[in-house]
Amino acid sequence: MKAPVSGADLIARAKAEIEEVQPTEAAAEIESADVTLVDVREQTEFEERHIDGAIHIPRSYLESRFEQFVPDRSRRIILYCASGIRSALAAKTLAEDLGYEDVSSMAGGITLWRDRGLPVVTPRSLTQEQKERYSRHILVPEIGLEGQMKMLDAKVLLLGAGGLGSPSALYLAAAGIGTLGLIDDDVVDASNLQRQVIHNTDRIGVPKTESARLAIEALNPDVDVVEHHGRLDAGNVIELLSDYDVIVDGADNFPTRYLLNDASVRLRKPVVSASILSFDGQLSTFVPYEGPCYRCLYPTPPPPELAPSCGAAGVLGMLPGIMGLLQALEVFKLVTGAGDPLIGRLLLFEALGTEFTELKVKRDPDCPICGPNAPQIADGDLGKFPDYDLFCAG
Protein backbone atom coordinates (compact mmCIF):
# COMPACT_ATOMS: atom_id res chain seq x y z
CA MET A 1 0.00 0.00 0.00
CA LYS A 2 1.22 3.47 -0.90
CA ALA A 3 2.00 5.98 1.86
CA PRO A 4 -0.83 8.50 2.20
CA VAL A 5 -0.26 11.86 0.54
CA SER A 6 -2.10 15.12 1.12
CA GLY A 7 -4.27 16.63 -1.59
CA ALA A 8 -2.05 19.68 -1.65
CA ASP A 9 1.02 17.55 -2.20
CA LEU A 10 -0.69 15.61 -4.96
CA ILE A 11 -1.57 18.83 -6.75
CA ALA A 12 1.92 20.25 -6.25
CA ARG A 13 3.44 17.06 -7.63
CA ALA A 14 1.13 17.08 -10.64
CA LYS A 15 2.00 20.69 -11.36
CA ALA A 16 5.70 19.86 -11.16
CA GLU A 17 5.31 16.99 -13.63
CA ILE A 18 3.26 18.69 -16.30
CA GLU A 19 3.79 21.69 -18.55
CA GLU A 20 2.08 24.91 -17.59
CA VAL A 21 1.47 27.93 -19.78
CA GLN A 22 0.58 31.43 -18.64
CA PRO A 23 -2.74 32.87 -19.91
CA THR A 24 -1.00 35.43 -22.11
CA GLU A 25 1.14 32.69 -23.68
CA ALA A 26 -1.93 30.52 -24.14
CA ALA A 27 -3.75 33.43 -25.81
CA ALA A 28 -0.87 33.93 -28.23
CA GLU A 29 -0.79 30.22 -29.04
CA ILE A 30 -4.53 30.07 -29.57
CA GLU A 31 -4.31 32.98 -31.96
CA SER A 32 -1.32 31.81 -34.00
CA ALA A 33 -0.89 28.05 -33.81
CA ASP A 34 -2.92 24.94 -34.31
CA VAL A 35 -3.99 24.10 -30.80
CA THR A 36 -7.01 22.46 -29.19
CA LEU A 37 -8.24 24.38 -26.16
CA VAL A 38 -10.22 22.27 -23.70
CA ASP A 39 -12.35 23.46 -20.79
CA VAL A 40 -12.40 20.72 -18.14
CA ARG A 41 -14.82 22.40 -15.71
CA GLU A 42 -18.39 21.32 -14.96
CA GLN A 43 -21.36 22.02 -17.22
CA THR A 44 -22.74 24.94 -15.22
CA GLU A 45 -19.35 26.66 -15.08
CA PHE A 46 -18.91 26.29 -18.83
CA GLU A 47 -22.40 27.64 -19.49
CA GLU A 48 -21.75 30.68 -17.36
CA ARG A 49 -18.68 31.73 -19.34
CA HIS A 50 -15.80 30.17 -21.24
CA ILE A 51 -12.98 31.01 -23.60
CA ASP A 52 -14.13 31.34 -27.19
CA GLY A 53 -13.32 28.29 -29.28
CA ALA A 54 -12.82 25.96 -26.31
CA ILE A 55 -14.31 22.49 -26.47
CA HIS A 56 -15.93 21.29 -23.27
CA ILE A 57 -14.91 17.98 -21.69
CA PRO A 58 -15.52 17.94 -17.93
CA ARG A 59 -12.65 16.36 -16.00
CA SER A 60 -14.98 13.63 -14.79
CA TYR A 61 -15.46 12.53 -18.42
CA LEU A 62 -11.83 12.91 -19.43
CA GLU A 63 -10.95 9.23 -19.78
CA SER A 64 -14.25 8.27 -21.41
CA ARG A 65 -14.64 11.11 -23.89
CA PHE A 66 -11.32 12.72 -24.69
CA GLU A 67 -10.36 10.40 -27.54
CA GLN A 68 -13.66 11.07 -29.30
CA PHE A 69 -12.91 14.77 -29.43
CA VAL A 70 -9.12 14.58 -29.89
CA PRO A 71 -8.10 11.30 -31.51
CA ASP A 72 -4.63 12.56 -32.52
CA ARG A 73 -2.17 11.82 -29.66
CA SER A 74 0.43 14.28 -31.04
CA ARG A 75 -1.99 17.17 -31.13
CA ARG A 76 -1.08 20.33 -29.18
CA ILE A 77 -3.55 20.63 -26.29
CA ILE A 78 -4.10 23.35 -23.70
CA LEU A 79 -6.40 22.55 -20.79
CA TYR A 80 -7.96 25.07 -18.48
CA CYS A 81 -10.26 25.10 -15.49
CA ALA A 82 -11.22 27.79 -12.95
CA SER A 83 -7.84 28.20 -11.22
CA GLY A 84 -5.42 25.74 -12.83
CA ILE A 85 -5.73 22.80 -10.40
CA ARG A 86 -8.23 20.54 -12.16
CA SER A 87 -6.53 21.23 -15.48
CA ALA A 88 -3.15 20.28 -13.99
CA LEU A 89 -4.50 16.96 -12.75
CA ALA A 90 -6.25 16.41 -16.07
CA ALA A 91 -3.04 17.17 -17.97
CA LYS A 92 -1.21 14.55 -15.89
CA THR A 93 -3.89 11.98 -16.74
CA LEU A 94 -3.76 12.80 -20.44
CA ALA A 95 0.03 12.71 -20.60
CA GLU A 96 0.76 9.74 -18.35
CA ASP A 97 -2.27 7.49 -18.74
CA LEU A 98 -3.71 8.32 -22.15
CA GLY A 99 -0.46 9.04 -23.96
CA TYR A 100 -1.02 12.55 -25.22
CA GLU A 101 2.38 13.97 -26.12
CA ASP A 102 1.94 17.75 -26.07
CA VAL A 103 -0.40 18.78 -23.24
CA SER A 104 -0.23 21.94 -21.15
CA SER A 105 -2.36 23.25 -18.33
CA MET A 106 -3.12 26.94 -18.23
CA ALA A 107 -1.84 28.41 -14.95
CA GLY A 108 -4.43 30.28 -12.90
CA GLY A 109 -7.29 29.04 -15.08
CA ILE A 110 -10.01 31.23 -16.54
CA THR A 111 -9.85 33.40 -13.39
CA LEU A 112 -6.30 34.57 -14.13
CA TRP A 113 -7.16 34.73 -17.86
CA ARG A 114 -9.91 37.25 -17.07
CA ASP A 115 -7.64 39.12 -14.60
CA ARG A 116 -5.23 39.57 -17.51
CA GLY A 117 -8.05 41.28 -19.40
CA LEU A 118 -8.44 38.45 -21.90
CA PRO A 119 -11.90 37.92 -23.44
CA VAL A 120 -14.48 35.28 -22.53
CA VAL A 121 -17.85 34.46 -24.04
CA THR A 122 -20.98 34.23 -21.96
CA PRO A 123 -23.34 31.97 -23.89
CA ARG A 124 -27.04 32.45 -23.38
CA SER A 125 -28.70 29.66 -21.59
CA LEU A 126 -31.82 28.89 -19.65
CA THR A 127 -31.89 29.06 -15.89
CA GLN A 128 -32.26 25.84 -13.98
CA GLU A 129 -35.92 26.70 -13.34
CA GLN A 130 -36.51 27.32 -17.03
CA LYS A 131 -34.83 24.06 -18.00
CA GLU A 132 -37.22 22.25 -15.73
CA ARG A 133 -40.30 24.23 -16.78
CA TYR A 134 -39.67 23.75 -20.50
CA SER A 135 -38.08 20.30 -20.30
CA ARG A 136 -40.91 18.66 -22.28
CA HIS A 137 -40.33 21.16 -25.10
CA ILE A 138 -36.57 20.82 -24.98
CA LEU A 139 -36.87 17.04 -25.28
CA VAL A 140 -38.66 17.41 -28.63
CA PRO A 141 -36.02 17.51 -31.38
CA GLU A 142 -38.06 19.97 -33.49
CA ILE A 143 -38.04 22.44 -30.58
CA GLY A 144 -35.00 21.83 -28.38
CA LEU A 145 -33.15 24.49 -26.45
CA GLU A 146 -32.91 26.64 -29.56
CA GLY A 147 -36.65 26.62 -30.22
CA GLN A 148 -37.38 27.36 -26.59
CA MET A 149 -35.00 30.35 -26.68
CA LYS A 150 -36.78 31.63 -29.79
CA MET A 151 -40.07 31.44 -27.93
CA LEU A 152 -38.62 33.26 -24.93
CA ASP A 153 -37.36 35.98 -27.27
CA ALA A 154 -40.66 36.27 -29.16
CA LYS A 155 -43.07 39.17 -28.80
CA VAL A 156 -46.64 38.29 -29.65
CA LEU A 157 -49.58 40.69 -29.70
CA LEU A 158 -53.05 39.32 -29.05
CA LEU A 159 -55.90 41.31 -30.45
CA GLY A 160 -58.72 40.49 -28.09
CA ALA A 161 -58.51 38.82 -24.67
CA GLY A 162 -61.83 37.05 -25.22
CA GLY A 163 -62.97 33.73 -26.63
CA LEU A 164 -60.04 33.17 -28.98
CA GLY A 165 -57.51 35.22 -27.02
CA SER A 166 -58.09 33.35 -23.75
CA PRO A 167 -56.84 29.93 -24.84
CA SER A 168 -54.11 31.29 -27.10
CA ALA A 169 -52.80 33.59 -24.38
CA LEU A 170 -52.82 30.83 -21.77
CA TYR A 171 -51.00 28.31 -23.95
CA LEU A 172 -48.55 30.84 -25.39
CA ALA A 173 -47.76 31.94 -21.84
CA ALA A 174 -47.33 28.36 -20.69
CA ALA A 175 -45.06 27.69 -23.67
CA GLY A 176 -42.81 30.55 -22.63
CA ILE A 177 -43.50 33.24 -25.21
CA GLY A 178 -41.38 35.99 -23.68
CA THR A 179 -43.63 38.98 -24.29
CA LEU A 180 -47.39 38.89 -24.65
CA GLY A 181 -49.20 42.11 -25.55
CA LEU A 182 -52.96 42.18 -24.95
CA ILE A 183 -55.32 44.64 -26.60
CA ASP A 184 -58.88 44.76 -25.31
CA ASP A 185 -61.10 47.58 -24.13
CA ASP A 186 -63.71 45.41 -22.44
CA VAL A 187 -64.26 44.29 -18.86
CA VAL A 188 -65.00 40.71 -17.77
CA ASP A 189 -68.70 39.91 -17.88
CA ALA A 190 -70.44 36.84 -16.45
CA SER A 191 -71.58 35.88 -19.96
CA ASN A 192 -67.91 35.64 -21.06
CA LEU A 193 -66.96 32.91 -18.62
CA GLN A 194 -68.60 30.07 -20.57
CA ARG A 195 -65.65 30.30 -23.02
CA GLN A 196 -63.13 32.95 -21.96
CA VAL A 197 -61.16 30.67 -19.66
CA ILE A 198 -58.37 33.11 -18.83
CA HIS A 199 -60.84 35.11 -16.73
CA ASN A 200 -62.72 33.94 -13.65
CA THR A 201 -65.74 34.66 -11.50
CA ASP A 202 -63.78 36.78 -9.01
CA ARG A 203 -62.69 39.12 -11.76
CA ILE A 204 -66.10 40.02 -13.20
CA GLY A 205 -66.00 43.75 -13.83
CA VAL A 206 -62.18 43.86 -14.07
CA PRO A 207 -60.64 45.01 -17.37
CA LYS A 208 -59.92 41.93 -19.49
CA THR A 209 -56.31 42.94 -20.08
CA GLU A 210 -55.73 43.11 -16.33
CA SER A 211 -57.60 39.89 -15.62
CA ALA A 212 -55.59 38.09 -18.33
CA ARG A 213 -52.33 39.51 -16.97
CA LEU A 214 -53.10 38.15 -13.50
CA ALA A 215 -53.80 34.69 -14.91
CA ILE A 216 -50.64 34.70 -17.05
CA GLU A 217 -48.41 35.91 -14.24
CA ALA A 218 -49.70 33.16 -11.98
CA LEU A 219 -49.05 30.60 -14.70
CA ASN A 220 -45.58 31.64 -15.86
CA PRO A 221 -43.49 34.44 -14.36
CA ASP A 222 -41.16 34.32 -17.40
CA VAL A 223 -43.76 36.12 -19.48
CA ASP A 224 -43.71 39.88 -19.72
CA VAL A 225 -47.34 40.94 -20.14
CA VAL A 226 -48.01 44.30 -21.77
CA GLU A 227 -51.54 45.59 -21.27
CA HIS A 228 -53.08 47.79 -23.95
CA HIS A 229 -56.47 48.55 -22.45
CA GLY A 230 -58.27 50.22 -25.32
CA ARG A 231 -59.29 49.76 -28.92
CA LEU A 232 -57.14 49.36 -31.98
CA ASP A 233 -57.69 52.32 -34.29
CA ALA A 234 -56.05 53.98 -37.26
CA GLY A 235 -54.30 56.37 -34.89
CA ASN A 236 -52.50 53.75 -32.77
CA VAL A 237 -52.28 50.64 -34.96
CA ILE A 238 -48.83 51.30 -36.47
CA GLU A 239 -47.24 52.13 -33.15
CA LEU A 240 -48.84 49.18 -31.36
CA LEU A 241 -47.92 46.59 -33.98
CA SER A 242 -44.35 47.85 -34.43
CA ASP A 243 -43.15 46.33 -31.16
CA TYR A 244 -44.27 42.78 -31.94
CA ASP A 245 -43.14 39.84 -34.10
CA VAL A 246 -46.49 38.09 -34.60
CA ILE A 247 -50.08 39.29 -34.25
CA VAL A 248 -52.91 37.00 -33.19
CA ASP A 249 -56.23 38.26 -34.51
CA GLY A 250 -59.19 37.35 -32.36
CA ALA A 251 -61.15 40.51 -33.08
CA ASP A 252 -64.92 40.46 -33.08
CA ASN A 253 -65.62 42.95 -35.85
CA PHE A 254 -64.74 43.60 -39.47
CA PRO A 255 -63.40 47.16 -39.23
CA THR A 256 -60.73 45.96 -36.78
CA ARG A 257 -59.85 42.98 -38.95
CA TYR A 258 -59.37 45.14 -42.07
CA LEU A 259 -57.45 47.77 -40.12
CA LEU A 260 -55.17 45.13 -38.66
CA ASN A 261 -54.64 43.59 -42.08
CA ASP A 262 -53.73 46.85 -43.76
CA ALA A 263 -51.28 47.85 -41.03
CA SER A 264 -49.70 44.41 -40.75
CA VAL A 265 -49.07 44.28 -44.50
CA ARG A 266 -47.42 47.67 -44.32
CA LEU A 267 -45.23 46.56 -41.39
CA ARG A 268 -44.75 43.06 -42.85
CA LYS A 269 -45.93 41.42 -39.65
CA PRO A 270 -47.52 37.96 -39.83
CA VAL A 271 -51.09 37.68 -38.57
CA VAL A 272 -52.69 34.49 -37.32
CA SER A 273 -56.36 35.05 -37.93
CA ALA A 274 -59.29 33.08 -36.59
CA SER A 275 -63.01 33.71 -36.45
CA ILE A 276 -65.92 31.79 -35.09
CA LEU A 277 -69.69 31.67 -35.30
CA SER A 278 -72.06 29.18 -33.67
CA PHE A 279 -70.38 25.83 -34.49
CA ASP A 280 -68.07 27.01 -37.27
CA GLY A 281 -64.52 28.28 -37.15
CA GLN A 282 -62.08 29.63 -39.72
CA LEU A 283 -58.32 29.92 -39.41
CA SER A 284 -55.49 31.13 -41.61
CA THR A 285 -52.04 32.64 -41.29
CA PHE A 286 -51.35 35.75 -43.33
CA VAL A 287 -47.67 36.42 -43.95
CA PRO A 288 -47.42 39.62 -45.99
CA TYR A 289 -46.08 39.14 -49.54
CA GLU A 290 -45.32 35.47 -48.85
CA GLY A 291 -48.97 34.46 -49.06
CA PRO A 292 -52.34 36.16 -49.44
CA CYS A 293 -53.55 38.82 -47.01
CA TYR A 294 -56.98 39.03 -45.38
CA ARG A 295 -58.23 41.27 -48.19
CA CYS A 296 -57.09 38.77 -50.84
CA LEU A 297 -59.41 36.28 -49.14
CA TYR A 298 -62.21 38.69 -48.27
CA PRO A 299 -62.03 41.80 -50.46
CA THR A 300 -65.37 43.05 -49.16
CA PRO A 301 -67.04 42.47 -45.80
CA PRO A 302 -70.55 41.03 -45.83
CA PRO A 303 -73.58 43.15 -44.99
CA PRO A 304 -74.59 43.14 -41.31
CA GLU A 305 -77.35 40.52 -41.76
CA LEU A 306 -74.70 38.05 -42.97
CA ALA A 307 -72.25 38.93 -40.21
CA PRO A 308 -73.80 38.57 -36.80
CA SER A 309 -71.48 38.77 -33.82
CA CYS A 310 -71.09 36.02 -31.23
CA GLY A 311 -72.90 38.23 -28.76
CA ALA A 312 -75.95 38.26 -31.01
CA ALA A 313 -75.77 34.74 -32.43
CA GLY A 314 -74.22 32.72 -29.62
CA VAL A 315 -71.28 30.36 -29.76
CA LEU A 316 -70.37 26.98 -28.29
CA GLY A 317 -67.68 27.56 -25.64
CA MET A 318 -65.33 24.82 -26.86
CA LEU A 319 -65.22 26.26 -30.38
CA PRO A 320 -63.11 29.36 -29.61
CA GLY A 321 -61.07 27.07 -27.34
CA ILE A 322 -60.17 24.86 -30.29
CA MET A 323 -59.64 27.72 -32.75
CA GLY A 324 -57.65 29.79 -30.25
CA LEU A 325 -55.35 26.86 -29.56
CA LEU A 326 -54.85 26.33 -33.27
CA GLN A 327 -53.82 30.00 -33.39
CA ALA A 328 -51.28 29.40 -30.63
CA LEU A 329 -49.96 26.45 -32.64
CA GLU A 330 -49.53 28.71 -35.68
CA VAL A 331 -47.62 31.21 -33.53
CA PHE A 332 -45.33 28.42 -32.35
CA LYS A 333 -44.59 27.46 -35.96
CA LEU A 334 -43.93 31.04 -37.05
CA VAL A 335 -41.67 31.76 -34.08
CA THR A 336 -39.59 28.58 -34.19
CA GLY A 337 -39.67 27.90 -37.93
CA ALA A 338 -40.94 24.37 -37.27
CA GLY A 339 -43.59 22.77 -39.48
CA ASP A 340 -45.83 24.33 -42.11
CA PRO A 341 -47.93 27.33 -41.08
CA LEU A 342 -51.33 27.83 -42.71
CA ILE A 343 -50.01 30.29 -45.29
CA GLY A 344 -52.30 30.33 -48.33
CA ARG A 345 -54.53 27.77 -46.63
CA LEU A 346 -57.85 28.44 -44.96
CA LEU A 347 -58.86 25.85 -42.40
CA LEU A 348 -62.55 25.44 -41.70
CA PHE A 349 -63.73 23.62 -38.62
CA GLU A 350 -67.29 22.47 -38.08
CA ALA A 351 -67.74 21.45 -34.48
CA LEU A 352 -70.94 19.37 -34.59
CA GLY A 353 -69.58 17.06 -37.28
CA THR A 354 -65.99 17.45 -35.99
CA GLU A 355 -65.03 18.15 -39.58
CA PHE A 356 -61.93 19.93 -40.81
CA THR A 357 -61.87 21.28 -44.38
CA GLU A 358 -58.94 23.03 -46.00
CA LEU A 359 -59.34 25.54 -48.83
CA LYS A 360 -56.63 27.09 -50.98
CA VAL A 361 -56.26 30.86 -50.85
CA LYS A 362 -54.15 32.65 -53.42
CA ARG A 363 -52.73 36.16 -53.51
CA ASP A 364 -55.05 38.49 -55.41
CA PRO A 365 -53.11 40.35 -58.11
CA ASP A 366 -55.64 43.17 -57.78
CA CYS A 367 -55.43 43.33 -53.97
CA PRO A 368 -55.60 47.01 -52.97
CA ILE A 369 -53.25 46.35 -50.03
CA CYS A 370 -50.67 43.70 -50.96
CA GLY A 371 -51.06 43.57 -54.76
CA PRO A 372 -48.28 44.80 -57.06
CA ASN A 373 -50.30 47.88 -57.98
CA ALA A 374 -51.51 48.69 -54.47
CA PRO A 375 -51.68 52.44 -53.95
CA GLN A 376 -49.91 54.29 -51.18
CA ILE A 377 -52.26 54.70 -48.24
CA ALA A 378 -51.89 57.37 -45.58
CA ASP A 379 -51.69 56.02 -42.01
CA GLY A 380 -55.02 57.59 -41.11
CA ASP A 381 -56.74 55.80 -43.99
CA LEU A 382 -55.59 52.30 -43.05
CA GLY A 383 -58.51 49.93 -42.70
CA LYS A 384 -60.81 52.11 -44.77
CA PHE A 385 -62.32 51.64 -48.17
CA PRO A 386 -65.22 53.17 -50.03
CA ASP A 387 -68.05 51.29 -48.36
CA TYR A 388 -66.52 51.46 -44.87
CA ASP A 389 -69.69 52.84 -43.32
CA LEU A 390 -71.81 50.01 -44.63
CA PHE A 391 -70.17 47.12 -42.92
CA CYS A 392 -70.04 47.88 -39.25
CA ALA A 393 -71.44 44.64 -37.91
CA GLY A 394 -69.52 44.59 -34.63
Partner: protein, 94 residues
Amino acid sequence: MPKVKIPPVLRAQTGGESIVEVEGEDVGAVLRGLADAHPGVGGQLFDESGDLNRYVNVYLNDEDVRLLGGLGTAVGGDDTVVILPAMAGGGPTA
Protein backbone atom coordinates in the same frame (compact mmCIF):
# COMPACT_ATOMS: atom_id res chain seq x y z
CA MET B 1 -75.42 14.76 -56.84
CA PRO B 2 -73.17 17.72 -55.96
CA LYS B 3 -73.24 18.83 -52.35
CA VAL B 4 -73.38 22.43 -51.18
CA LYS B 5 -71.94 23.39 -47.79
CA ILE B 6 -74.11 26.03 -46.20
CA PRO B 7 -72.48 28.55 -43.84
CA PRO B 8 -74.10 29.21 -40.44
CA VAL B 9 -75.54 32.56 -41.53
CA LEU B 10 -77.56 30.94 -44.32
CA ARG B 11 -78.81 27.91 -42.44
CA ALA B 12 -81.96 29.68 -41.35
CA GLN B 13 -82.88 29.74 -45.04
CA THR B 14 -82.12 26.03 -45.53
CA GLY B 15 -84.15 24.85 -42.56
CA GLY B 16 -80.99 24.38 -40.50
CA GLU B 17 -79.30 22.08 -43.02
CA SER B 18 -75.51 22.51 -43.31
CA ILE B 19 -75.21 20.30 -46.40
CA VAL B 20 -77.73 20.40 -49.22
CA GLU B 21 -77.65 18.27 -52.36
CA VAL B 22 -78.45 20.21 -55.53
CA GLU B 23 -78.50 19.08 -59.16
CA GLY B 24 -76.56 21.21 -61.64
CA GLU B 25 -73.98 21.11 -64.45
CA ASP B 26 -71.96 24.06 -63.28
CA VAL B 27 -71.47 26.19 -60.15
CA GLY B 28 -74.01 28.78 -61.26
CA ALA B 29 -76.68 26.14 -61.92
CA VAL B 30 -76.06 24.48 -58.54
CA LEU B 31 -76.32 27.79 -56.67
CA ARG B 32 -79.43 28.85 -58.61
CA GLY B 33 -80.94 25.44 -57.85
CA LEU B 34 -80.17 26.04 -54.18
CA ALA B 35 -81.78 29.48 -54.34
CA ASP B 36 -84.88 28.02 -56.02
CA ALA B 37 -85.24 25.34 -53.35
CA HIS B 38 -84.55 27.73 -50.48
CA PRO B 39 -85.87 31.19 -51.18
CA GLY B 40 -83.88 33.78 -49.28
CA VAL B 41 -80.50 32.26 -50.12
CA GLY B 42 -80.45 33.79 -53.59
CA GLY B 43 -80.55 37.36 -52.41
CA GLN B 44 -77.47 36.78 -50.32
CA LEU B 45 -75.50 35.04 -53.05
CA PHE B 46 -76.26 37.06 -56.18
CA ASP B 47 -76.30 40.75 -56.98
CA GLU B 48 -78.97 42.39 -59.15
CA SER B 49 -77.22 41.39 -62.37
CA GLY B 50 -76.99 37.75 -61.33
CA ASP B 51 -73.27 37.73 -60.49
CA LEU B 52 -71.90 36.42 -57.22
CA ASN B 53 -71.77 39.05 -54.51
CA ARG B 54 -68.14 39.94 -53.87
CA TYR B 55 -68.46 39.27 -50.16
CA VAL B 56 -69.39 35.65 -50.78
CA ASN B 57 -66.54 33.28 -51.61
CA VAL B 58 -67.51 30.12 -53.44
CA TYR B 59 -65.17 27.16 -53.66
CA LEU B 60 -65.41 24.07 -55.79
CA ASN B 61 -63.88 21.51 -53.42
CA ASP B 62 -60.78 23.43 -52.25
CA GLU B 63 -60.42 25.94 -55.11
CA ASP B 64 -61.90 29.43 -55.37
CA VAL B 65 -64.27 29.36 -58.37
CA ARG B 66 -63.12 32.85 -59.34
CA LEU B 67 -59.75 31.31 -60.16
CA LEU B 68 -61.44 28.49 -62.07
CA GLY B 69 -64.25 29.31 -64.49
CA GLY B 70 -66.45 31.39 -62.19
CA LEU B 71 -70.13 30.44 -62.16
CA GLY B 72 -69.53 28.53 -65.39
CA THR B 73 -67.12 26.07 -63.72
CA ALA B 74 -68.31 22.51 -64.41
CA VAL B 75 -69.45 20.51 -61.38
CA GLY B 76 -69.40 16.71 -61.11
CA GLY B 77 -71.61 14.50 -59.00
CA ASP B 78 -68.91 13.94 -56.36
CA ASP B 79 -67.99 17.60 -56.03
CA THR B 80 -68.68 19.86 -53.08
CA VAL B 81 -69.49 23.53 -53.51
CA VAL B 82 -68.52 25.55 -50.43
CA ILE B 83 -70.24 28.87 -49.73
CA LEU B 84 -67.94 30.90 -47.50
CA PRO B 85 -68.77 34.30 -46.16
CA ALA B 86 -66.27 36.14 -43.96
CA MET B 87 -66.91 35.78 -40.25
CA ALA B 88 -65.86 38.43 -37.80
CA GLY B 89 -66.46 36.75 -34.50
CA GLY B 90 -63.72 36.36 -31.96
CA GLY B 91 -63.88 37.51 -28.41
CA PRO B 92 -65.32 40.86 -27.52
CA THR B 93 -64.09 43.47 -27.98
CA ALA B 94 -60.82 44.39 -29.49
